[in-house]
Symmetry: C2
Subunit: 166 residues, 2 copies
Amino acid sequence: MPQSSNPIAATFAPHDHQECAHRALDEAAARLAEQGARLTPVRRRTLEILLESHRALGAYEVLDRLAAEGFGRQPPVAYRALEFLVSHGMVHRLQRLNAFTACLHPGDDHHPAFLICRSCDKVAEAAGVPIRDSLTEIAGRGGFQVERATIEAVGLCATCAAGGAE
Amino acid sequence: MPQSSNPIAATFAPHDHQECAHRALDEAAARLAEQGARLTPVRRRTLEILLESHRALGAYEVLDRLAAEGFGRQPPVAYRALEFLVSHGMVHRLQRLNAFTACLHPGDDHHPAFLICRSCDKVAEAAGVPIRDSLTEIAGRGGFQVERATIEAVGLCATCAAGGAE
DNA sequence: GCACCAAAAGTTATCTTATCACATTCGGGT
DNA sequence: ACCCGAATGTGATAAGATAACTTTTGGTGC
Ligand SMILES: [Zn+2]
Ligand SMILES: [Zn+2]
Ligand SMILES: [Zn+2]
Ligand SMILES: [Zn+2]
């Protein structure tokens, strides 16, 4: 993730994104190698496409890009690559958007909360643990065992709030 | 909501659902009247269908029911009724399921967290405020202003955990 | 009652998102 | 070279959602 005190602010603020994306890709490659999972060309390219920005892309946006680069042009091409990356923790799916975003720190807390800026469309990952704890506690009092949680917020990032459409 | 100490447990446990549904419908009708909004036949029937169980139904499931009862059989019929009910707080949309569930206490905390049982498919509403507070706090430290939040958990309810598939 | 208007309901068509089923290719192990 | 399972490619189709337009309904002013 970008270099800054706060990873959320860092995601939305201008930053050396080349470095940011490159780092996430390297880390993903390393983790997949560890797990003995194959980062094939389509899969690698899919991850690179998602890493080009901090936005979330729909499966068909990804597919168009892949098709234009010589990969297959049928939906399963994109969906399979995305599913592979999601199941290995390299990409997250955003339920509110029906879209996918690259994980910036695969391996860490893999159950983040997502902050989606309605102005610039960027997505940041926030620490999900405290929020999940709160949810687990409330659910637990009703006898409900939480297994997976979706936590997604829509709002305005600091950069956009500052008027920053530049 | 069902009569019990804990509203979450009460939703999943067997209860006098007639009473439960009837109450929610009356309350919805009263609130809509207050607001000067019209609870037309399709809208009313849509709400009744959702209130038949604590499950979430897809728009097309609702549509099939409506069509079978003499209402229109085109998707907008269901989507419009559902959108009306959602925008007036009588129904909630579950992002994870692409489905809709009736609100059991319209007017209260209208930003609940949802607990979805993977075994019985029932959905309960939990107090969303403490969880949202936690989310707002974490986001705020990164300069992000939360406007709307989606909080949905999948897991196992107490009744199902107790082996209760009866 | 009647003309009028806006809201609601109906209908056709289309768009977006996602999955199925099956054929082909690729890559490692023998 | 042969085998086998994983990965990829393709055509078809399912599932979810909306756009655009017409008709009906229900209330308002006359
Ligand atoms: Zn970056
Ligand atoms: Zn922004
Ligand atoms: Zn009930
Ligand atoms: Zn259950």
